[in-house]
């Protein structure tokens, strides 16, 4: 009895030692991969930062109004944001490779899935960024045009444009990463359709008089209004 117990324990100890002996080199390989990954990611970050400084991306972002939003969200400048994103995406990739080297059963498949998702996440971030810049630019252009033309509720118009573009960008980004595709599509269709339908009803029925006034002011009386201002040149 005693011998059986000792034999079992020694067998377990031998297995543990063997497993540890097999695992330790893998752990070391993983750590090497993670360290190398860190260095590569850091190098890429510095290169991208230098390239973006040369191309004056921050200035473009400032002009397009994206920087204001980043500041509001307590985020760094556009150059810094993109460089850091590249650093983390690259390093995360190396970390995942390192983890897969460990050979833990069940983890391999999850890591492969995550790997497949990485490019989609990056594209989704890019879509959100382009959406943010476009929404900001177009809503500001609409606001200025509406204010200078003396239209009523210019902010409403501006925010409507911003909202529609944001909604479009968010739904496209979620679609890209494959999060609840059907739900996102349905939600977007419902929101967008409801908005358009609401506007159509508002102008067609509820705002009939307002629409008439609007059209009259802008088509019939436009010339009269324009000439109120003296010849500037």
């Amino acid at each position: 009895m005693k011998e059986v117990i000792i034999q079992g324990l020694s067998q377990a100890y031998a297995n543990l030692v063997r497993m540890f002996a097999e695992f330790l080199p893998r752990l070391l390989v993983m750590m090497v991969i993670v360290v190398v990954g860190f260095l590569v990611a850091y190098g890429l970050k510095m290169i991208l930062r230098a390239v973006l400084h040369v191309t004056r991306l921050d200035r473009l972002s400032e002009e397009a109004g994206a920087s204001r939003f980043l500041r509001m969200a307590a985020l760094p400048s556009m150059t810094e944001l993109l460089s850091r994103s590249l650093f983390w995406v690259t390093w995360l990739g190396f970390i995942l490779i390192g983890i897969s080297v460990l050979g833990v059963a069940g983890l391999q498949e999850q890591i492969s899935r995550l790997f497949l998702l990485l490019p989609a996440i990056f594209i989704a971030i890019l879509i959100l960024f382009v959406g943010l810049v476009t929404a900001n630019f177009l809503s500001r252009a609409a606001l200025l045009a509406a204010v200078n033309a003396g239209y009523a509720s210019p902010k409403l118009l501006s925010w409507s444009i911003r909202f529609v573009i944001w909604a479009l960008a968010v739904s496209m980004a979620l679609e890209q990463v494959g999060v609840a595709r059907q739900t996102v599509l349905a939600a977007f269709s419902i929101v967008f359709g409801a908005l358009m339908f609401g506007l159509a009803i508002a102008f067609g029925l509820g705002g009939k008089e307002l629409a008439r006034e609007f059209l009259e002011r802008n088509l019939r009386d436009k010339k009269k209004e324009k000439y109120e201002e003296p010849q500037p040149l």
Binding site: R59, E62, E63, A64, G65, R68, F137, R140, A141, L143, L144, A145, V147, N148, A149, G150, P154, K155, K223, E225, K226, Y227, E228, E229, P230, Q231, P232, L233
Partner: protein
């Protein structure tokens, strides 16, 4: 040569057949068949009677007219040649060339073709004449060409007689600001008729800016500022009142073109103006201004309303362009009653300088920044209309001069904001 790359082959052939000329008159057109006859008559009369011994060419550059403007240009030339041969005073043939530079009108492309032709033909004096001016007389063309040809000036701006409520953007913004920044007292750098030398044409042709939106929109002002910047001689010549068919006053578009162009020129020539102060008078032929008291003051109610709503609706945008103090002052006057409303000159100048510096630092899209100035211009306009409604012509001129002095006084503030690191 640079111009060989963009001038059409047929146009080049026509230019080569002319050879060298002393005078070139450019007539940019776009659907101007109804008024072109009078323009051509004035130009030809000028060349026939005032430049008898000089070789001359009239150059029509067309933006794709659909009303046979070009045919009219060429046919009218044939008819007048017959009269000319019957014994008028000119000793030389006046050549006529017409080219189509595109299918849509563009002031910049038209001028690019004119200066390329002037350079190729080695013209000594050139003038650009607008066919939309219905009261153009031969004296206008003489007044633009002679200072260049005989007095060796390189840029001659027109001076127009105005009614008191005409040209307020020029008198309250463009002239005083250009005078303070570039140091030359030229009243009308934004114009449709002007004269320039072959020397200036060659200098302009060498610049790689013709594709810039600001230059395409108002090339004449860029040309004037280039002449000042490279140290060429500039002057101005009185033409009289200008009558053109009403085209409406789209103030937003006009400010985008003129102020956008001016800010762009400030940026492009900053090395020249940052170190200079004060302004110098330029040679002036005829009276340097003529203001009549004609005209009914326009209603200020709508203008004030647009100013007030603009300041309120654009608050975040103005906040990113203006300093806190200036923004607060503008918000305060926007809250005042219309009868008590004053947009003081000091505040107006400070506002414009802050806009110019923000344009330089690109705090937001530059076209948007210029558009954000429109409500503030309306506020200043309303203030002028309230303050100067009963002023005499002399008093208005005195007030305009005071605005110019204020722009010059505050120039160090502009330099400070312009050069600060952001």
């Amino acid at each position: 040569m640079a111009e060989e790359s963009f001038l059409a082959d047929d146009f080049l052939r026509q230019l080569m057949s002319v050879g060298e000329v002393d005078l070139l008159v450019g007539v940019p057109t776009y659907n101007n068949a109804s008024t072109l006859g009078q323009t051509l008559y004035s130009v030809e009369e000028t060349l026939r009677h005032n430049f008898v011994r000089q070789r001359a060419v009239i150059l029509n550059v067309d933006g794709g007219s659909a009303d046979e403007t070009r045919q009219l240009f060429l046919q009218s030339g044939e008819g007048r040649d017959a009269n000319h041969n019957k014994g008028l005073t000119s000793l030389r043939t006046t050549h006529r060339i017409s080219c189509e530079y595109g299918k849509a009108p563009s002031q910049g492309l038209a001028l690019h073709n004119i200066v390329a032709a002037a350079d190729l033909l080695r013209a000594k004096a050139c003038a650009v004449i607008s066919p939309t001016t219905t009261n153009l007389t031969p004296s206008w063309v003489v007044n633009l060409l002679r200072p260049v040809y005989s007095e060796s000036l390189d840029f001659v701006a027109p001076l127009y007689a105005r009614t008191r409520f005409q040209g307020l953007l020029v008198r309250d913004l463009l002239y005083p600001m250009s005078r303070a920044i570039f140091g030359q007292r030229i009243r009308e750098i934004y114009c449709e008729e002007w004269g320039f030398s072959g020397r200036l044409a060659s200098q302009c042709l060498e610049k790689d800016v013709w594709r810039e939106e600001a230059v395409r929109a108002r090339p004449e002002a860029w040309m004037a500022i280039t002449a000042i910047s490279v140290g060429l001689k500039c002057g101005q010549s009185f033409l009289g009142p200008k009558i053109a068919p009403p085209t409406g006053t789209d103030i937003v578009e006009i400010i985008r073109q003129t102020v956008g162009n001016f800010f762009w020129c400030m940026e492009a020539n900053q090395a020249q103006w940052l170190s200079h102060s004060n302004s110098q008078p330029v040679p002036t032929f005829g009276p340097d201004h003529e203001l009549s008291l004609d005209g009914i003051p326009p209603s200020q109610e709508k203008i004030f309303e647009l100013f007030r709503s603009g300041v309120s609706e654009l608050e975040p945008i103005l906040g990113s362009i203006l300093s806190q103090d200036t923004h607060a002052q503008i918000k305060a006057i926007a809250r005042s009653d219309r009868s008590q409303f004053h947009f003081l000159t000091e505040l107006w100048v400070k506002t414009l300088y802050e806009f110019a510096a923000s344009y330089h630092h690109a705090v937001l899209n530059r076209d948007h920044l210029v558009q954000a100035l429109v409500p503030l211009y309306r506020g200043r306009l309303c203030s002028i209309l309230l303050e100067r409604a009963d002023s005499s012509a002399d008093a208005m001129e005195t007030q305009s001069e005071a605005v110019c002095k204020e722009f010059e006084r505050q120039k160090p503030y502009l330099v400070e904001r312009w050069t600060v690191n952001r």
